[in-house]
């Protein structure tokens, strides 16, 4: 049986669409985990990044965070948190994966937001001050909106990394889309393997496209620049 046939036959079997091992449940779990990790990452990373960019300090921190984020493999973060989570009673599955995802989401979001705010044209900031804007207004009405495409670029990179790493969570017992891949390997079931792979790839590509659309819509005055996919700075 060819790989494509196996994929089609797996996806068209109705029992694969029900229960906690089914496609809808695992897709939902994958989305739930990814969304919560990105949300928590945003809350942790963006406020200090915007503030430091505003006061023009912490360049070294931003640079170091990128380098660390790149050098530490996501699988290693997930794997190392696994024994820690077991030891401190958070169990396997959701929690070790969640903490790993939050940690991995922070560097790209922080650095892009920092660069975004810091590199807003100084003349624009001066003009805002000259108009009598207070500090909070300069940040909220000038610097953040001007830097929004780049800030969202960071969130986009972080989200894609989170979705990819949530897949690896299958290896520490997280019941998401990666579980199809993990089980597919172990049971030598190509249909299952490909189902997981295609769903994860599709999810990542759709999220990437959606981000592109959102950036265009909320910042119609400029085309979205390519986010620093780990590059730049």
């Amino acid at each position: 049986m060819s790989a494509t046939t196996e994929l089609v036959s797996y996806v068209t079997t109705s029992s694969h669409w029900t229960g906690e091992r089914g496609i809808p449940w695992r897709t939902f779990e994958h989305l739930r985990l990814s969304a919560s990790a990105v949300a928590v990452g945003i809350v942790i990373a963006l406020p200090p990044a915007v503030w430091l960019g505003h006061v023009r300090r912490g360049g070294l921190l931003a640079q170091s965070l990128v380098n660390i984020g790149r050098a530490v493999p996501s699988l290693a973060v997930v794997a190392i948190l696994f024994p820690l989570s077991l030891r401190y009673g958070f169990g396997l599955g959701f929690w070790p994966t969640f903490v790993a995802l939050v940690l991995l989401a922070i560097p790209p979001m922080f650095t892009n937001a920092y660069v975004a705010v810091r590199t807003v044209e100084p003349a624009v900031v001066e003009a805002a001050r000259g108009m009598g804007m207070k500090r909070a207004q300069v940040i909220g009405r000038v610097q953040v909106p001007s830097g929004l495409p780049l800030i969202l670029g960071g969130v986009r990179v972080a989200t894609l990394q989170v979705i990819a790493t949530a897949t690896l969570g299958a290896f520490v017992g997280f019941n998401g889309l990666g579980s199809f891949i993990n089980e597919g390997f172990r049971q030598q079931d190509d249909g299952k393997l490909l189902t997981g792979a295609f769903l994860v790839a599709l999810l990542a590509l759709l999220v990437d496209i959606a981000f592109g659309r959102v950036v265009l819509r909320i910042t119609p005055w400029r085309a979205a620049p390519r986010a620093t996919k780990g590059s730049s700075l």
Binding site: P73, I80, F171, I181, F185, L193, A197, V200, L205, G230
Partner: protein, 217 residues
């Protein structure tokens, strides 16, 4: 010996041979992937620079490959090329393309027009100018891409451990299977060390290769 500790140094001491073998394996997978990725990207960049309209589709395809989560890509490849080194390398190479092609093309694009005209005025043929003027001047951008690709690849090789081709990744894989944290810590820790060492080495190499300017990025 405290069996509860996250790293059991005794195990490390008894497995120096396995660790050395994994180091060689990890390095080999990384170097092959980055070298092949760089060659392929140079080729693609030449095409993109010669026929401008091809740049968008080339960068677009590289972007799609980059966006697909690594485990998903490896999983698909396994059904075609099996649990082999080839599978690992195809995946690893495909993740280096975006950063290489983008930096090479942008690096060469940013060569000042005056420099290019001077080279043309001296009678250099296009291919000759490309090799002796454009490429050397784009070196800082290419070196920056080389560092990013290398460090990223070192991390991704741990994932190829899940398909049985992983250097340090095999420690992580087996550590997870047996719930043995020492192996996980050793695999993850050494991978970070290798990424940092290679990054520092490449910075040094770039300083040597382009003495006329300070290293950027």
């Amino acid at each position: 010996m405290n069996k509860d500790s996250l790293i059991w140094w005794d195990w490390v001491g008894r497995h120096t041979d396995a660790i050395r073998a994994a180091t060689v394996e990890h390095l080999r997978l990384t170097v092959i992937a980055v070298a092949v990725g760089l060659m392929l990207s140079l080729l693609l960049s030449v095409v993109a620079l010669r026929w401008r309209w091809t740049y968008t589709p080339i960068a677009g395809l590289a972007g799609v490959l980059y966006t697909i989560p690594s485990l998903a890509l490896f999983a698909v490849l396994v059904t075609i090329t099996g649990f082999t080194t080839l599978t690992a390398e195809i995946g690893l190479v495909s993740y280096t393309l975006l950063v290489f092609v983008r930096n090479i093309v942008e690096g060469i694009d940013s060569v000042p027009a005056a420099v290019r005209e001077a080279a043309d005025g001296m009678g250099l043929r296009p291919a000759h100018r490309f090799m002796t003027v454009d490429l050397p001047l784009a070196l800082p951008a290419i070196a920056a891409a080389l560092r990013i690709a290398t460090v990223t690849t070192v991390g991704l090789v741990t994932v190829t451990g899940l398909i049985g081709q992983g250097g340090y990744g095999s420690f992580i894989d087996s550590g997870l299977d047996r719930s043995f944290s020492t192996e996980v810590m050793v695999g993850g820790g050494l991978s970070v060390v290798m990424a940092v060492v290679l990054d520092v080495a490449l910075v040094g190499l770039e300083r040597v290769a382009s003495p006329w300017r300070q290293a950027t990025a």
